[in-house]
């Protein structure tokens, strides 16, 4: 298990390096940061000077190597746009994104899992048929459209919820949280729903499918034959056995929640990393983009690791088998 964790973390370094390499290869195509940094009256000579100073004339391999060697010392450079250390910017933005992503994931789970269970248990009832169909609408519309529609309804027309931002935040060390203030809680509702909608649909369908599958297994039949109560069967036995695939997908999706957060954060002006990334792209702010991507790569590896470790917790069989096949 320890070995497994170490192995994964080693792999994560490789993954992050590759991500960074690819990232630098593509930075040539995101545009020219210089024209964003300087004003329109800056002379060509000054621009050239700045370009050389930032190392933008070097090959992407050289830029990549410099980034890696600095990053290894914990220095991710200064943002072109904000002239502040990237690490500081990211630390400021991370809490917002993580809070939003986890709230959305939680929401998706809290709503998706019970709905999935219900739909799995009552396969033919019209309620579950309706639920299944309606939930699909959530995945049929682009996120930005859903976001704007929600803002229109709940902020502009009804005036119940704020249309943008994170509300008041509380500082706990370097972490900031909006979850401890009423204003912050109100602010997270709409973005979290927007972000969770897709995942909710997915989880619900997944749980349903797994539930149907598990309910047909022999051990459920045997549990029935032992006269266990429906509750014990559905929740104690069936649900727990659907967890492994649900954990896998939720883990994978948590990653894409972070990716989707880019759009949700833009629509709701949520001051997180996604918004920061989009702003960085439109500014061609290479240090910010590179660090963000590497961080996302790291998140993915960590999430995958956590998912795998959760397997151990949930499924005792894997506690042995995993050891024999940890390299796959």
């Amino acid at each position: 298990m320890v070995a497994f964790t170490i192995q994964r973390l080693l792999q994560s370094v490789l993954v992050m390096l590759t991500v960074a390499l690819i990232a630098f290869a593509l930075f040539n195509y995101v545009g020219d940061p210089i024209s964003n940094i300087v004003g329109q009256d800056t002379t060509l000579a000054d621009r050239d000077h700045l370009r050389a100073e930032l190392g933008l004339n070097d090959s992407f391999i050289a830029q990549f190597a410099r980034f890696v060697s600095h990053a290894a010392q914990g220095n991710f450079g200064l943002s072109y746009q904000q002239a502040r250390p990237v690490s500081q910017i990211i630390l400021e933005k991370m809490p917002a994104t993580l809070e939003l992503s986890f709230t959305a994931a939680l929401l998706a789970l809290i709503v998706g899992v019970p709905m999935g269970i219900y739909a799995g248990l009552h396969r033919h009832s019209w309620v579950s048929q309706t639920m299944l169909t309606v939930s699909l609408i959530g995945v049929s519309l682009p996120t930005f459209l859903i976001g704007i529609l929600l803002i229109l309804i709940f902020a502009v027309v009804l005036g119940w919820l704020p249309s943008f931002g994170r509300g008041a935040v509380v500082h706990i060390g370097w972490w900031t949280t909006g979850l401890l203030t009423a204003e912050g809680l109100r602010a997270i509702i709409l973005p979290a729903i927007t972000l969770a909608l897709f995942q909710m649909t997915l989880i619900m369908r997944l749980v349903r499918a797994e539930m149907i599958e598990v309910l047909r297994t022999d051990y459920i039949k045997f549990a029935r034959a032992r006269g266990l109560t429906s509750r014990a069967i559905n929740f104690g036995h069936a649900l727990k056995n659907t967890l492994v695939p649900v954990i896998t997908i939720t883990g994978l999706q948590l990653g894409s929640i972070i990716a989707f957060a880019v759009i949700t954060e833009t629509v709701f002006q949520w001051p997180g990393m996604g918004l920061m990334f989009i702003q960085a792209v439109s500014f061609a702010d290479i240090p910010v983009m590179a660090t963000y991507l590497v961080l996302v790569g790291f998140f993915f590896v960590v999430i995958n690791l956590v998912v795998d470790l959760l397997y151990y917790v949930v499924d005792p069989r894997l506690r042995i088998e995993r050891e024999a096949s940890a390299n796959v």
Binding site: V2, A3, F4, I6, Q7, E323, A324, A326, N327
Partner: protein, 349 residues
């Protein structure tokens, strides 16, 4: 090698590597771990003969079969088929020529047929693969013949496997195995998933085919009654080794190895011997872990006759009367029978 020997297996070994990943091993200071599924098995089969392997679950029967048909590469030892050492063939071409003459019928009639192929295509696959028949119409007739040979109708070729019962599927498997005119048919528990009446049909069919086509069988089963009915000679396996090889009549009338005796005793009987309650004595102990097989004779923990020698020294397969037995007790005469020359080769043909 006598002329009529079609297959000869010499000191066959097969080990499964079940070690944890490299990093794990380093961190925990552990070495590689191997399951010695086969630990020196030797036997040979004559042309037209029906040789059977019997033994409890996990003793390595399937592994023998798979090594022979080339699904596993042996860790050591050689397999000589019709004078050719298959282990040394490197080229796919040469391999496939030999392969064609050696076919296998699997245990599970439900898993051994591709569920998405029509029966016609399944049965024709060996013919197509080895380009034995290229003409479409001829292929159709040939498949029809094969199906008829196993008592199905040619019209069944248009159906999918799921439309057949277990026994019928096993017939399809046999038809497929026969398609390329093999000499040797390896049957790994072909009837253990079937019920008795269907089992009888399949066993009879196999016997008929053997007679008609002059086939040689390597037959594997854990069901002693089936073995008794179908085999000419029987090898009894225990934990990756052969412990006794004898003709079927000998084995069932005078089992020598204590393990063979134990096996025969555990068969449930239709007609309880007079006076007994009809109750079998449950065997003590289970098959040991093949990762750490007991030293000496692997059977000694369960053997009523085990002594110190059995615990330390591994017995070899030696002639005892007309049979070959690997047991110190037998060889020492502790269990009847007289000892043969101690150095006769460990071969049983």
């Amino acid at each position: 090698m006598p002329d009529d020997t079609i297959l000869e297996v010499n000191d066959l070994q097969h080990h499964f590597d079940v070690s944890p990943p490299a990093l794990d091993r380093v961190l925990r200071g552990k070495g590689r771990v191997a399951v010695k599924a086969l630990d020196g098995v030797s036997f040979s089969i004559r042309r037209g003969e029906n040789f059977s392997l019997v033994g409890e679950s996990g003793c390595g029967k399937t592994t023998v079969a798979r090594c022979i048909v080339g699904l596993y590469r042996p860790s050591a030892g050689n397999i000589v088929f019709d004078g050719v050492d298959i282990g040394r063939l490197k080229q796919r071409n040469a391999m496939s020529r030999v392969r064609r003459r050696m076919q296998m019928v699997f245990q599970d009639p439900y898993a051994s047929l591709n569920p998405r192929w029509r029966v016609r295509k399944i049965v024709a696959e060996p013919l197509v693969t080895h380009r034995l028949v290229t003409d479409k119409a001829e292929l159709r007739t040939r498949v029809g013949e094969l199906l008829e040979q196993v008592r199905l109708s040619p019209a069944d070729g248009d159906k999918f496997p799921h439309e057949f019962s277990g026994g019928q599927r096993q017939r399809i498997s046999i038809a497929r195995a026969l398609a390329a005119h093999p000499d040797l048919l390896v049957c790994d528990e072909p009837t253990s998933a079937l019920d008795v009446s269907v089992q009888a049909q399949i066993l009879n069919l196999m016997k008929d085919l053997q007679r008609r086509l002059g086939l040689t069988y390597l037959f594997i089963s854990h069901n002693l009654a089936v073995i008794y009915q179908i085999s000419d000679r029987v090898g009894v396996m225990y934990l990756g080794r052969l412990v006794e090889v004898a003709t079927a009549d000998q084995l069932f009338s005078t089992p020598r190895h204590p393990y063979t005796q134990l096996l025969l005793e555990t068969i449930p009987r239709l007609d309880p011997p007079d006076g007994s309650s009809g109750e079998r004595e449950p065997v003590a102990g289970e098959v040991p872990n093949p990762i750490h097989p007991p030293p000496g004779c692997a059977f000694h923990p369960r053997c009523p006759l085990a002594n110190d020698r059995c615990r330390n020294e591994r017995p070899s397969l030696l002639i005892a009367d007309d049979a070959f037995v690997a047991c110190h007790a037998v060889h020492e005469g502790r269990l009847s029978s007289r000892l043969a020359e101690p150095h006769s080769p460990a071969r049983c043909d």
